[in-house]
Subunit: 569 residues, 2 copies
């Protein structure tokens, strides 16, 4: 390919709409263009990267016995009504009617479709296991599509579904996919971590997310500094923190005036005590009524855990009206002591606190000397807090570290959730009917491209990992009008291409600065520069995009050396 | 791949819903399954074929300088409103609203999207020409989706759009695509013909369709027996047919009673004359008012030509009420003589007829001795009839032949229709603004697969052309329980696979009859059979699916010979 012909309209300015680096750089590098909020055209450079990621995904799926197929994007409502998800999905699902007023959606996922397919064609245990996958557009009508390809409304996914005879089979399929996913993201040249994950609304239990480590990541992960434990903070389990008895006297409850002292910070300063002595009380509204969640003052509520413990469909912070009218309390002075008309859920660490402080459900009043075991009667005591840096690892107890990540893949055990809802059964060895045991496994293909950029860039532009670079090498004659430079550029371009190195030639009649800037912005891993001085010396200059390192190779050795260098970086 | 693991659920019975062979065979061979009317899942075998067709398309597009990108499927209404097609498209367009009630459609085509894209990034003549393409799902909400993949509502297309500086550039791009399309369908192993085509509702002028020749084709084509002229019958031009003066006296008009003689056949029999003496009169309703179309009794009206000549948006047969009330005539006795309140359009051959017969616009009455030049005053005289077998070729005059075909590709000159509507302009060498000159070029990828089957099948199933077969060779041990047979089968399977031949091994523990039936149904080009007798003789049997021919090869030569044979068939 020649740059003069490539359709990659680069921009000098960063478009104001782009908040994150990957979005900014993909717009500037002429890789994507917006068609509507969260809906993008992938221009040729982006499409080349996507095809490389897809090829890696495909190879790893096939290596595990996956079979590729392609399901429809428009899906009839009936199968979604059978599982009840037609109603559950809400506004996030794009819906439409055909000319005969039949209801369809644009597939946000394909559990219903694949299960309906398999139930009609699979009868016998001999046809199992099955690993079926596709790579195609998915649709989610996000309230606020943002961050470019990171949270789009139309995006490319690989989704694989496994069908097994039993839980042991599911474990095997799950492990295959876990392994394949690790290989995929390694092969893409990304720094990533598989972490334990909550299995969310899609159902089932047992799940890992694959996180590309990047400071801009929307997800927080915790990982152990000693063992190999790693989890999404939403999921990371925590033991209760024991406090050793210090001989403090057990005193009766005492009301204390705390005028305008609403936050933990204000209360601790006012009362001259540590946040570990405060019981933080948060009020929620849920479909199961109002809830008070209690955590220690230096801790945060993990709403995912809380929601799971309550087994509720929605959960949101209670507003002031609810706090006043239903809980007969006031914001800033909420507390669990003598709380009525509300479900109290206490983090297990709270129940081990001694001589604590909490709001007294009256304006400007707190309780002192709270003994949780004596004064609080929670409906549920459980692990409901968010893990924090230096919390003990739930496996080995060593302090955990935290990092931010971008979720690019997830593996799920669905068990029989969908096969039961849709009656996908098979006959086992004894002729007995049993539901198929399912798993589902997704890779965000377009998001992986964006995540690669979030992880690999500098102030000048993208730094593509070699395996997914649109072109691995760019050959830049400093002066395209100089016949000798162009002749050598063409020669090296031809040699590298013939050697299987994906190469692009910047044949434009532009100043070298413009060409170098574009090359840095687009992020080709290696740049071969042909200038008057090196040419005279019988050499070419090769610059590594990531390190900025420069090497000089003799012209006749150039393509061999470049290939070698590509293997190293 | 092993058949025991392949997800290709074959069916013994032909599903009742399937009307055409390709639909029947793809269902029976476990290649597709219906999700909704006109909406299908492509199972692994079909997906393999589609990927092969896509790969061929991609190579040929790239060879012509095409650059692949991917545009959204969901398209905002605004760009369609700019060209006016939001209203024109009617019910055939799938429409939806997002959660903010913004209007979108599912792209039936992408002229608006690509033109909007290019207009914002291309400024200079130096950036042209551009050939941009994608391969993806298209959506058309057909009234009656039918014939399986032949007329679906969700289907896979390759669409390329060319942007040139001027008409000469467009001609060049058009010729490149014409050439690429010829190569694509040749490489797919299909018998096809490019034919001149009407450019239809999409706009522009200058178009060819690529037709796969098959008796079941929905389109009729005419081609010359002598020169290389070929056209869709909708488009094929015709000269007026001169009639030599035969000295018959020119007589005055005469009314003749023709009781109940409504059809051409009845009238000719009753009056004892040839259909070439009758003026056939057909009444239409159009958005430009009622129309009478006249053709000779042995000819048919070409409604596409008629519509183009009238430049109307819709045209349909007039019903009896219109004929009675507006035309003051009656069905079966329509005629152009003294016709009022109606636009008369005469085929140019009609105007050369002598002493003709036509309806007299009264029940049971015709006119004799009609002299068109004397008695009829048409508003338009033009070529408005359908070409027929043995009509003279418009190029060389030799008799044409007709055949049926399946349209699998079309190339179109759009000229400046969309660039003007959407203001896609560039600055030329003199800094003057000019609209880009466009073309569009489509390949029906999923339809090509179906057309390949319509053209290549027999009573036992599909006969894949080698280049697009899901696997080229199937290795069938007659008895999978026989260790010697299985060992040899594995060996040959391994050798062929290693030699780059896509091979599948039927390792199922089934009767040979079942395995052979499935192999014939799915249509692998070659079958290698390993049976006890040949094994003893140190040979394998190789059967060619298409011809039924059988060859025996020595075991040690098998893979070489199979490869050779594949090259020949």
């Amino acid at each position: 390919m020649r740059v003069s012909q490539l359709y990659a309209p680069t921009l000098r300015e960063t478009p104001a709409e782009a908040e994150v680096v990957s979005h900014q750089l993909m717009l500037r590098a002429g890789m994507i263009r917006k068609a509507a909020g969260g809906v993008y055209t992938y221009l040729p450079l982006a499409w080349k990267v996507l095809k490389k990621i897809e090829a890696i995904v495909r190879e790893e799926m096939d290596a595990k016995g996956g079979q590729e197929l392609l399901m429809p994007i428009i899906q009839p409502a009936e199968m979604w009504q059978e599982t009840g998800r037609w109603d559950v999905y809400g506004e996030e699902m794009f819906r439409l009617r055909d000319r005969h007023s039949r209801n369809f959606c644009l597939g946000p996922t394909h559990e219903e479709m694949i299960t309906t397919l398999v139930r009609s064609d699979v009868r016998s245990y001999r046809q199992l296991p099955l690993l079926l996958y596709q790579i195609q557009n998915k649709y989610r009508d996000e309230i606020r599509p943002r961050f470019g390809l990171m949270r789009g409304r139309e995006f490319i996914m690989k989704d694989l579904y496994s069908f097994d005879r039993d839980e042991a089979g599911l474990d095997e399929s799950y492990n295959k996919m876990y392994d394949a996913y690790s290989r995929i993201f390694s092969r893409c040249g990304l720094e990533f971590r598989p972490v334990e994950a909550d299995s969310g609304a899609i159902g089932g239990s047992g799940s890992h997310e694959f996180m590309v480590i990047a400071d801009s990541g929307e997800a927080a992960i915790a990982f152990c500094s000693a063992c190999d434990y790693a989890a999404n903070v939403e999921k990371a389990e925590l033991q209760a923190i024991e406090v050793e008895a210090d001989g403090t006297a057990v005193l009766p409850l005492e009301r204390v005036a705390t005028p305008n002292m609403k936050s933990i910070k204000e209360v601790t300063r006012f009362l001259g005590m540590d946040a570990t002595r405060i019981i933080k009380t948060i009020a929620y509204q849920t479909d199961k009524g109002p809830v008070l969640a209690l955590v220690r003052g230096d801790h945060e509520v993990n709403e995912i855990k809380l929601k799971n413990k309550l087994d509720c469909l929605y959960l949101e912070l209670a507003n002031e009206a609810v706090i006043a009218e239903v809980l007969e309390s006031c914001a800033g002075f909420l507390g669990p002591v003598k709380a009525q008309n509300v479900t109290v859920v206490a983090d297990h660490t709270v129940m081990l606190m001694r001589d604590a402080v909490c709001g007294a459900n009256s304006q400007d009043v707190h309780y002192l000397h709270v003994q949780p075991q004596r004064d609080i009667q929670p409906a549920i005591v459980a692990d409901i807090r968010l893990i924090q840096e230096n919390d003990p690892c739930p496996r080995c107890g060593a302090p955990v570290k935290t990092a931010r990540g971008i979720e690019v893949g997830q593996v799920f055990k669905l068990h029989t959730k969908y096969s039961q809802a849709l009656n996908a059964v098979y006959l086992d060895e004894n002729g007995k009917e049993a539901p198929m045991v399912m798993g589902c496994y997704g890779v965000g293909v377009s998001r992986t491209m964006a995540a690669a950029i979030e992880q690999n860039h500098d102030e000048n532009g993208i730094i593509w990992p070699v395996p997914i670079a649109p072109y691995q090498v760019i050959v830049v004659p400093v002066n395209a009008k100089d016949a000798a430079q162009m002749a050598l550029a063409e020669k090296i371009y031809g040699e590298l291409s013939a050697a299987g190195v994906e190469t692009i030639l910047d044949d434009r009649n532009e100043r070298p600065g413009v060409k170098f800037k574009d090359a840095d912005l687009i992020g080709y891993p290696l740049r071969v520069i042909i200038g008057p001085k090196t040419l005279q010396e019988g050499k070419v200059e090769v610059k590594v995009r990531r390190s900025g390192e420069i090497e000089f190779f003799a012209i006749e050795q150039c393509s061999g050396k470049v290939k070698e260098l590509l293997g190293k970086i």
